[in-house]
């Protein structure tokens, strides 16, 4: 009995086995990663529109506009936890959104497996470095630079 069902399973699809090797799909599954990546792009995209346009408006339009942007301006913004969190979320979402976008472009246009692998390695290393550095700067930022002269220091440093 069992042999007959096995035989039924072993029955090959018509003309199978003469498919050009480059078309055979060897990688099956991968879990839900691609689905979550797709969903992440949509969700992060919507959030980024709000984050980035508010960021641009606050930095470039409000008050003195673009002329207000200098070291002190950034230091003043990061003194507030709101802008720390804002910039942190923006950094992470923008980096991951962009990285995933470039990852799909590499997958779509990279012809060879090895080319894709190397391009993606470079991409992931770059993303990792930028995210770590950016996060570090946001949280460890010290507006009172050691060794700075009194004129360049901010008033709240008390120098």
């Amino acid at each position: 009995m069992s042999t007959s069902t096995n035989e039924a399973h072993a029955l090959e699809a018509p003309r199978s086995g003469r498919i050009a090797p480059r078309y055979t799909r060897n990688s099956s599954g991968g879990g839900n990663f691609e689905m979550f990546a797709w969903l992440f792009m949509r969700v992060s995209g919507v959030i980024l529109v709000v984050l980035i346009f508010t960021h641009l408006f606050v930095n470039l339009v409000v008050g003195d506009g673009i002329h207000a942007v200098d070291f002190g301006f950034v230091a003043g913004k990061w003194a507030s936890p709101l802008w720390q969190v804002w910039d942190l979320v923006m950094l992470w979402l923008a980096m991951l959104h962009g990285t995933n976008g470039v990852r799909t472009i590499i997958n779509d246009y990279g012809d060879k497996k090895a080319t894709r692998m190397w391009l993606k390695t470079v991409l992931y290393v770059a993303t990792f470095v930028i995210i770590v550095l950016g996060t570090l700067v946001i949280f460890t930022f010290d507006p009172c630079v050691a060794g700075a002269t009194a004129e360049t220091l901010q008033e709240y440093c008390g120098a």
Binding site: A13, R15, S16, R18, I19, A20, R22, Y23, T24, R25, S27, S28, G29, G30, N32, F33, E34, M35, A37, W38, L39, T104, N107, D108, Y109, G110, D111
Partner: protein, 258 residues
């Protein structure tokens, strides 16, 4: 009792009388030739032909094959837009040669005919369709049911039938899959045609294997590789809203997983 049924107005402007002469014109047909037995290089061949207002690209290819060069190779079976054998790239767009009237093309320039892209060319306009059919087979394009078989037919409401009506129109010509830039890259993507045919069963109320098909298309090379460029929807000679069908499958996978 006998009411006269008005014929729908024809879009083709032809003389009213039956015996009237059909307008003829000169065309240049350029065909992408490839014969691996002679050379690994593909080249363009061209012919000047006198064709008529009622002729299609397929008629021009026939004229070449029957009267000029018998070695020109292409597939065609029904020649009436149903079998899906003669999908080819005509003036840079995937179409059926049997549904493309010459008079609708720009006859002042050569008409370019190439094999569909992304599949291995075997000879001239003939490509190896096996990778395409392999993806089709993988999505299980047949009715799968659970439980007892009904004594009569499997009933379905008109609304339930309407749900997947659009994707039943597919003729497997590969015009959509071979117009997809993602498929061109490495041929790993399942391709629009396989997803369309999965859609036809996933949204069929009589079928019970929808989850299995969604699982298959949740693959790394499944629906998530679709970039919604709409090339497939534009290429479909049956007017199927291919990109919409792919999006519906994406949503069904999401709804099932979340």
């Amino acid at each position: 009792m006998t009411t006269e049924i008005a014929e729908p107005a024809s879009k083709v402007e032809l003389p009213e009388s039956v015996g009237g002469e059909i307008p003829s014109f000169e065309i240049t047909l350029k065909v992408r030739r490839y014969n691996p037995e002679v050379s690994d290089e593909a080249y363009w061949d061209e012919w000047k032909l006198t064709m008529y207002g009622t002729d299609r690209v397929l008629d021009a290819l026939h004229k070449v094959k029957w009267e000029h060069d018998g070695s020109v190779s292409f597939r065609r079976s029904c020649a009436h837009g149903v079998c899906g054998s003669d999908a080819m790239r005509i003036n840079g767009r995937n179409r059926l040669a049997c549904k493309t009237l010459l008079k609708d093309l720009d006859t002042s320039k050569p008409i370019l005919v190439e094999p569909i892209k992304g599949l291995p060319v075997e000879k001239d306009l003939i490509v190896d369709m096996e990778p395409f059919f392999q993806s089709y087979r993988e999505i299980m394009p047949f009715l799968v049911t659970k439980g007892h078989e009904p004594t009569k037919e499997r009933l379905q409401s008109a609304e339930d039938r309407e749900r997947f009506d659009d994707t039943t129109k597919c003729i497997l010509c590969a015009a959509c899959t071979s117009s997809c830039p993602v498929f061109w890259t490495d041929g790993q993507y399942f391709g629009p045609a396989a997803i369309v045919n999965a859609h036809r069963f996933i949204f069929d109320s009589r079928d019970d294997a929808g989850d299995m098909r969604l699982e298959i298309l949740n693959d790394k090379e499944g629906v998530w590789r679709c970039r919604t460029t709409f090339n497939c929807s534009e290429a479909c000679p049956r007017g199927i809203q291919v990109t919409k069908a792919i999006s519906e499958v994406k949503q069904a996978i999401l709804a099932r997983s979340l």
